[in-house]
Amino acid sequence: MNQSELPFLSASDLSRLIQSKEVSPVEATEAYLDRIEAEDFRFHSYITVMRDQAMDDARRAEQDIASGQHRGPMHGVPVAVKDQFWSKGVRSTGGSRILADFVPDEDATVITKLRKAGAVVLGKTNMTEFAITGFSHRYSTPRNPWDIDTYTGGSSSGSGAATAAYLCATSLGEDTGGSIRFPATWCGLVGIRPSWGLVSRHGVMRGVWSMDTVGPISRTVEDAAITLGAIAGHDASDPYSSKATVPDYQKSLGGDLTGLRIGVITEFMESDLVEPAVRQSVSKAIATLGELGATVEEVSIPLSMDAGVASAVLLAVEPALAQQDWIKDRIQDYGHDVRILLLTGSLLPAQAYYKAQKLRTMLRQQVLDSLGKYDVLVLPTSGKGAQQQVEDPPITSKETAGRLSFLFTRIFNLASCPAMSVPCGFDDRNMPVGLQIAALPGAEEKIFKVGHAYEQASTWHTMRPPGA
């Protein structure tokens, strides 16, 4: 295979070729670095490319594999990581100007684990400022390979752009309110927010401590499975990380869905926030799940549509507390949307925060009760496909204050549940649409099984973005 064609393989297929020694990690890494150098001026997906470190990682992987020490499916696979994660000796901005010169003296645990699995870290991807809004960027705004004039979704915007544009084999994002699943759905990718606590958050810049999760953004379900497998597991540096044994997620892939019970959340499917073409794509995908053997029924979660408001309070208050010194001393160093969000969060009364947490408790119970009856819940990831690039507009009324009401991801952040977005078609502007699949905490294997069965019954993951 020509070296320039290597970036267009799935991470899993590349992994198999590396294991069989048909492709070397050095060849694959050079191919990605060359492609980044030639193409990323169009996508703005990386803040920092780690060429020298990546080539060192690749040479080490090549030597290990040549000497018979293959470490598993991520060995030699080039990966991009969000700039929200500390990287030793490499600046880690969190997408902010405030941390423009911040160089950590240790790696985030997820980067340590990637390297332990033999992965090659290509660089740090672009993101919205401190990952606390969906749109506001300080290092230019990433572009969507499906239409270069549209946005990727955020906050893991660069990870979405880099993965969809074949500028990495797979990537890591972080999801506090939907920041993995949002770019996944708008870029036609697979993104999974794991169970809270499954992946260490040591060295991850904080958004909302009880909602932050690190997970993969990938081109296929199998790629997401091998990426998550490399980073999951207990870490003594994160006291809230789970001590549960990490399953081999690849083993959950395959087979039909006979015997599985699937609940379709009616509040989201019937919402006016869902465009007709999106509803049609998601409905067809759900019908396919039935054809694959699953029992599909409608389920009501009455507080579903209130997840946006409850989470918006938490997403304003907690970062404002964490950054209170910068808010007082450096408020003009923030971009517009983040500045308004942090000032708003600084003023929200304690009663509002308390009420939001009580609503969260009730909503979580409704979700868990539903997941007592169904193996997975399904719904659209977003009510609409990718939108045109726009600068953060000023807030001119109460009605224009909320920017992300069409995003249906936060319910599972509040409930601490894992959830995946998998491509399921296109809207009426030919932009990708995502089906969201959620399960009980710790039940990622069910999500991978359902997501993979759907993916194999469809062709969306085989389509190449016209801009890539």
Partner: protein, 60 residues
Amino acid sequence: MADLNKDEIRAMGKAVGLDIQDPELTEVMYSLNALLESLDAINPPGLNDVEPLPIILPPA
């Protein structure tokens, strides 16, 4: 619930050590009032009987 006006927003800022001026003041006023109004409208039965539990611990 009446909307907070600019003077009230400015005073709330001072209480937490922030001197908020326009144009941010106007936008924060809309943003804060929108959030408080939306939250005020959500009152499901039983809300007073639950505790504000932020997390459930991951399975061991």
